[in-house]
């Protein structure tokens, strides 16, 4: 049972751990998902604001009258214009400034002073500006990514296009990361313009080969770490640059992993404690329980002497004490039963124990046998009281053995007389026969005893037996606290009288039975009619016979 419990506990812990682990991962993923989407929204907003900002800056710059003069006034020279352009550039902290002509030629490039009158690399940018007064977009130029604004130089009519550009690089990426709380990489295919994630920069080639569906969260494995990634496409004139927002799954999971580890430790600790408690319980509970079970088994087999010895004082200890008391009680009851059986004969004892002991009786047909010893008193004068009791007991033991063998019940001993019942408390069909056979055996047994005593020089004794069958009242008689199972009635008295009649020498009979008893006999017996006697309560006298033997 212990192992089952431990196994169950282990299973429970495992299941809990897995459930927690799964829930953690789900939660982390959900967190990152919402965080990335929010980050992307913030990013979009930021980019929009920045674009508006550089557009406004371009518009303001383009209104610079002094610069306009260097560009369009009398006495133009490129050197002056370029230097003034550089000044404008630093005014708004741009990384490059171009000037495009109205017919879409590139006139000035602060990065390449020698450039003049080449086609403007991004004519669509100018086209949009023509229609909407200003425009901005991302452009990829010379392997770098710029956010470029285009504003008309109004003097006061548009005379040219002023295009400041802002490089998207690591610094910018770091700025954005502070707002979006995600790693950010600006890239076009495998060309990385700026990134906050060194691992991603190193994995540029792989990035170029990866399919990144826009506005969807995918799991990218970068430098051995899982990053949930969200690609935001940037509106560009050329190429397909994206801003890749990324969050490390491990980082997100870190607190949960700590939790899981703690849980695991606790679980193992709990398990160890459970095993310890289980082992302790085995000693403290299972063993005593087994001892009690053993004790119960012993009692079932009738060994009431067995005692359960437990060292402990707790509930089991008190159970053991109760158990031992029960054992004692059972032993006691057994002894009492035994004693009762000895005192009243086992059948009477059983009858008594069967139901509530109450005074009263029932009428039944019972064959009553009285026996009495002759010459016993004369013998007793020659013997010591102990010896006499010993002989008497040996005699009674033999006689009652015979009676019980034939299914009779010894009612009582009265000195050297014995009263037995055949038919109460339990009746048999041939009670009369049983009584008569008993009587015959008893006389034979006594003869046996006499022969032995004679050999020892002891005097012999005689016996007289009277048997009558009649309806009597059988039951418990006496007082409630001191009673006796016996029979009463005229039939009983007659049996006693018949026994007394054996003393009559003219009858010369050791066993005298009534006609009633003989009539109830099922077998054939050798008898001698002795005569009749008057019986109280009966009109006709009863015939009596001497029982000589069986046929």
């Amino acid at each position: 049972m212990l192992f089952f419990l431990i196994a169950l506990l282990t299973l429970l812990q495992c299941v809990t751990y897995l459930v927690i682990r799964n829930a953690n991962r789900q939660h982390a993923l959900t967190q990152i998902d919402s965080s990335l989407r929010t980050g992307a929204q913030i990013f979009q907003e930021l980019i929009e604001q920045r674009s508006q900002q550089i557009s406004s800056e371009a518009a303001v710059l383009s209104r610079d009258h002094a610069f306009q003069e260097t560009f369009a006034g009398a006495n133009q020279d490129r050197e002056t214009t370029l230097s003034a352009l550089a000044s404008l550039q630093s005014r708004v902290k741009a990384d490059v400034v171009w000037i495009g002509s109205l017919d879409r030629q590139l006139l000035f490039d602060t990065h390449r002073p020698e450039i003049h009158n080449v086609p403007f690399p991004f004519p669509k940018l100018i086209e949009r500006a023509e229609n909407t007064e200003s425009s901005h977009a991302f452009v990829i130029f010379d392997g770098e990514l710029f956010a470029m604004a285009v504003a008309p130089m109004l003097a006061p009519d548009p005379i040219a296009w002023l295009c400041p550009g802002f490089r998207i690089d690591d610094d910018f990426a770091r700025e954005i990361k502070a707002y979006t709380n995600a790693e950010i990489t600006f890239a076009d295919g495998s060309n990385i313009f700026g990134s906050t994630l060194e691992k991603q920069r190193l994995a540029a080639k792989k990035l170029g080969e990866t399919q990144l569906p826009p506005k969807q969260i995918v799991d990218l494995r970068v430098g051995g770490e899982d990053f949930l990634s969200y690609a935001v496409p940037l509106p560009a004139e050329n190429g397909k640059p994206i801003a890749l927002l990324q969050r490390s799954l491990n980082e997100e999971l870190a607190p949960y992993i700590r939790l899981e580890r703690n849980f695991l430790i606790l679980a193992l600790l709990g398990l160890a404690i459970s095993v310890a408690i289980g082992a302790w319980m085995a000693r403290g509970v299972s063993k005593p329980v087994l001892q009690l079970a053993e004790g119960a088994r012993k009692i079932a087999t009738g060994d009431y002497r067995h005692r359960v010895r437990l060292k402990q004082q707790d509930e089991l200890g008190s159970l053991a004490d109760s158990f031992n008391q029960m054992s004692t009680g059972l032993a006691e009851r057994d002894r009492v039963r035994d004693l009762l059986g000895k005192v009243v004969s086992p059948e009477v004892a059983a009858e008594l124990l069967k139901k509530e002991v109450a005074l009263g009786g029932e009428e039944r047909e019972v064959t009553v046998l009285f026996s009495d010893l002759r010459n016993f008193t004369s013998m007793s004068e020659k013997l010591k009281p102990q010896e006499m009791l010993g002989i008497l007991n040996r005699y009674f033991t033999g006689m009652s053995g015979i009676i019980e063998k034939h299914g009779g019940v010894v009612d009582k001993y009265m000195g050297d007389a014995l009263m037995a019942l055949f038919g109460a408390p339990l009746a048999n069909a041939d009670d009369a026969d049983r009584a008569m056979q008993s009587a015959l055996e008893m006389t034979e047994a006594l003869d046996d005893l006499n022969r032995r005593w004679q050999k020892r020089g002891l005097p012999t004794i005689g016996v007289g037996i009277g048997i009558n069958t009649d309806i009597v009242v059988a039951g418990n008689m006496g007082s409630a606290t001191r009673l006796n199972y016996t029979v009463i009635g005229d039939g009983v008295n007659l049996a006693s009288r018949l026994e007394g009649l054996t003393k009559q020498p003219e009858y010369d009979a050791r066993i005298i039975i009534s006609g009633c008893t003989l009539s109830k006999a099922k077998r054939k017996y050798r008898t001698r009619r002795l005569g009749e006697v008057a019986v109280k309560g009966k009109k006709t006298p009863t015939e009596i016979f001497a029982l000589l033997g069986q046929n």
Binding site: Q49, Q52, R63, H65, Q68, E69, A72, G73, A74, L154, A155, P156, D157, P158, I159
Partner: protein, 216 residues
């Protein structure tokens, strides 16, 4: 007989009939059919060159606007730029036909500016982004600017063959592309219709009060 002719001529003169009295009735519309105001209609007589008819023009600055929006002058005309506002203005032009500037001033400048090149000049005010005006410097004295209804009447034109062109600040393309030739007799009116392809109006919106934009 000469005397009768002379009297006849005098009578004719007295009646106001002039020898160079043809007129050109021009209507200017755009491709959508709307009438086009501020369009400069000018006619160049082939084979003729005229002397300067009018010596000076005026472009005023009133209520922080140039008045008028479009001025047409014959090449060689001087233009005075009085400042009728109680604040100063800084008039400038970067147009190749005339680059000049009148740094912050009030009242009437001492010297007018001579527009001695044919071309179209854009005027601006350095400190008021919305102020803009145009001067069409024309090679001919025969010109008129259309009014609100897109209609101009060029009068006192001697007979001859003319190339008529129209220019408007929002014109897409060059005036030559829309040129029409017309033969004018000594008197009478010829009617012309010009349909121009115009760009959307690029004019900067005037700053109303001080409250636009806001911290965003």
């Amino acid at each position: 007989m000469n005397g009768i002719r002379a009297i006849g001529l005098l009578v004719l003169v007295g009646l106001g009939l002039r020898l160079d009295a043809a007129s050109l009735d021009v209507t200017v519309k755009d491709t959508k059919g709307a009438t086009v105001p501020d369009a400069v209609v000018y006619a160049q007589r082939s084979g003729a060159s005229s002397g300067l008819v009018k010596k000076q023009a005026v472009v005023d600055q009133r209520d922080k606007q140039f008045v008028p929006y479009v001025t047409a002058v014959q090449v060689g005309t001087s233009i005075v730029f009085p400042n009728s506002d109680n604040i100063r203005h800084h008039v400038y032009s970067f147009s190749p036909a005339k680059k000049f500037e009148l740094p912050l001033y009030s009242g009437v400048p001492a010297k007018p500016i001579v527009f001695d090149n044919v071309g179209f000049v854009t005027l601006g005010c350095n400190i008021h982004d919305w102020m803009i005006a145009y001067v069409a410097v024309l090679p001919t004295p025969h010109f008129q600017v259309t009014g609100a209804e897109g209609h101009a009447m060029v009068k006192d034109m001697p007979a001859g063959q003319y190339t008529v062109e129209v220019w408007q600040p929002s014109l897409k393309g060059t005036p030559e592309q829309f040129a029409q030739t017309v033969e004018l007799s000594a008197s009478g009116t010829k009617t012309l219709l010009f349909t121009l392809d115009l760009k959307p109006d690029f004019r900067v919106k005037r700053a109303p009060g001080l409250s636009t934009g806001g911290y965003r």
